[in-house]
Amino acid sequence: MEGDTNIRDVKRAVRGSVDAYGRLIEKNKDYLYRTAFLYSGDEEAALEIVQETVLKGFRSIKQLRNPELFRTWITRILINTSKDYYRHEIRYAQMPEEEAAYEEAGITAEERADLYEAIRRLPEKYRTAVILRYFDGLKQEEIAFVMGIPRGSVSAYLTRAKKELRKYLKEGYLNG
């Protein structure tokens, strides 16, 4: 079973196996990169963030007590690393062309770029909560763990973030 294999690899990684750790990273690499990209808005920065996250993750993996929480735990490391690499200037203008083949009905690539721009404008803690909740699909308890804050604070950040985002966007983006 996939889940059992993951837990076995986590336990081996905790015992020091770089190979086991590498398999875990391979399964999560796209998710880590995309989250880093959402945070930084820049491909080069996102790659650096992922590189640093992979290094930091293995160096501190002995602190991971619950193997089932590996993905949440590595997300926490990635978010903390991302904070150091946040850039003010982003190149979302590139995205509409690259994603032209993937447009869905109702949401154009330009609208998606507007969404990312709006998210980028949020204060850091609200941006983190929004990315983790609406893009990574984490539950509020998981977000609280990743960000190291109480669950109630997650709710507060999401409420305030949505208020800010509504100034730029239609509500449909946050109901999906």
């Binding site: 770089v18 990273i25 796209d30 790659l47 204060p123 669950r151 604070s153 709710s155 507060a156």
Partner: protein, 367 residues
């Protein structure tokens, strides 16, 4: 929106980056092993050397201890006391700004003063002076009762360019000074900024086009004009206390941040993602359990015992029914009148209480 994440293209370079990271980790692991092995070898050597030295050097131990004792620094046994810095509640607040702005239009003179913000809310004191006396039907309010006037106004600030993000002020709460003068305060919530902080000073343009007052019979008296102000809003947090409650019930309904200033209390609502804020309301009661005076989303603390403040998150519809019923005396029957806060506590979705230093203490305080 989860699929939006999948739409972000992943560069081919990612594999190379991850591969390099894993290679580095393997190098670090090898280096650790070699260092550990070298360390072990060195430790064995030291132990062996120590064993040899120890057999020949027992008489030096006592001198080392005396030397060590002489080098210990004297330590004080005095305890440290940490005092929380209290607010200057007993001092009369000074004017926050010396700037006074005055505009006259259609026989009404508006004077704006005491303009400041505390990082969460912008405050402006407005004095409204009419050439003609206000209507007689407003006379009952001239005895110093609180009153709320409605405004039609638009504001703009440099905080975010043309779209300031500061809501346009739409109410002014205060009291009538005489039959021609009304003095009120305008409170406006400030939007969160990208860097998380409102600047210490910013410019604000405010245009008021009408002021409406409701009379006893429900009719409205509206004064129309064109009053334009350009004010400087300075930061003053001297008497602002912020408490993060961030508590919710099982459904995710609760109270977030509570901001208390010299004049009012504001409590932030926390609600589930799919809920509508219009369906909820906050009620704040003082230490006696009585509802405090509302000024929009703010509750005025003037002349109230705030040594204990009870804060309730309620379903808006239910709250309005309770308030209406309480004021009509529904709860005066039976075992006697009940305190409003007790009633709210039974029906609230979430409740909490806070304690502040209070200039006023009421005789009766709710247990």
């Amino acid at each position: 929106m989860g699929r939006q994440l999948d739409r972000i293209p992943v560069p081919e370079k990612l594999d190379e980056v991850i591969g390099e990271s894993l290679r580095q980790l393997r190098r670090e692991k090898r280096k650790k092993r070699m260092t550990a092995a070298a360390g072990l070898a060195a430790a064995v050597s030291v132990c062996m050397a120590g064993y040899v030295l120890g057999r020949n050097a027992v008489q030096y131990g006592e001198e080392e201890q005396q030397t060590a004792a002489g080098n210990i620094e004297a330590r004080t046994d005095e305890p440290e006391y940490l005092f929380a810095r209290g607010g200057e509640e007993d001092e009369i607040p000074a004017e926050h700004t010396d700037s006074v702005y005055l505009q006259e239009s259609e026989g009404i003179t508006l004077t704006v003063s005491n303009v400041y913000h505390n990082g969460y809310t912008m405050y402006m004191t407005v004095l409204m002076r009419s050439e003609e006396p206000f209507s007689d039907s407003l006379s009952r309010y001239r005895e110093g009762q609180g009153y709320t006037a409605e405004l039609e106004s638009r504001g703009a600030s440099e905080l975010e360019g043309e779209n300031s993000g500061i809501p346009d002020p739409d109410i002014m709460t205060g009291r009538f000074i005489d039959d021609r003068t009304f003095a009120g305060t305008v409170c406006t919530a400030l939007p969160d900024q990208e860097n998380g902080e409102i600047p210490d000073q910013f410019a604000y343009e405010w245009n008021i086009s009408s002021i409406s007052m409701e009379e006893d019979d429900g009719s409205k008296v509206t004064c129309r004009g064109d009053w334009n102000f350009q004010v400087e809003v300075e930061k003053n947090t001297g008497r602002t206390e912020v408490t993060d409650i961030n508590g919710t019930n099982r459904n995710g309904e609760g109270i977030g941040r509570v901001v208390k200033t010299a004049d009012d209390i504001y409590a932030e609502i926390l609600i589930p993602e799919e809920a509508r804020s219009e369906d909820y309301t906050v009620a704040v009661c003082d230490a006696s359990g009585a509802l405090m005076n509302e000024a929009g989303e703010y509750y005025r603390t003037e002349n109230r015992d705030i040594s204990t403040v009870y804060i309730f998150l309620c379903d808006r519809e239910e709250y309005e029914k309770l308030k209406s019923g309480y004021r009509s005396g529904e709860n005066a029957a039976g075992s006697g009148s009940r305190i409003f806060a007790e009633i709210l506590k039974e029906h609230a979705l979430y409740s909490t209480e806070l304690h502040f230093r209070s200039q006023y203490l009421c005789v009766y305080q709710m247990a």
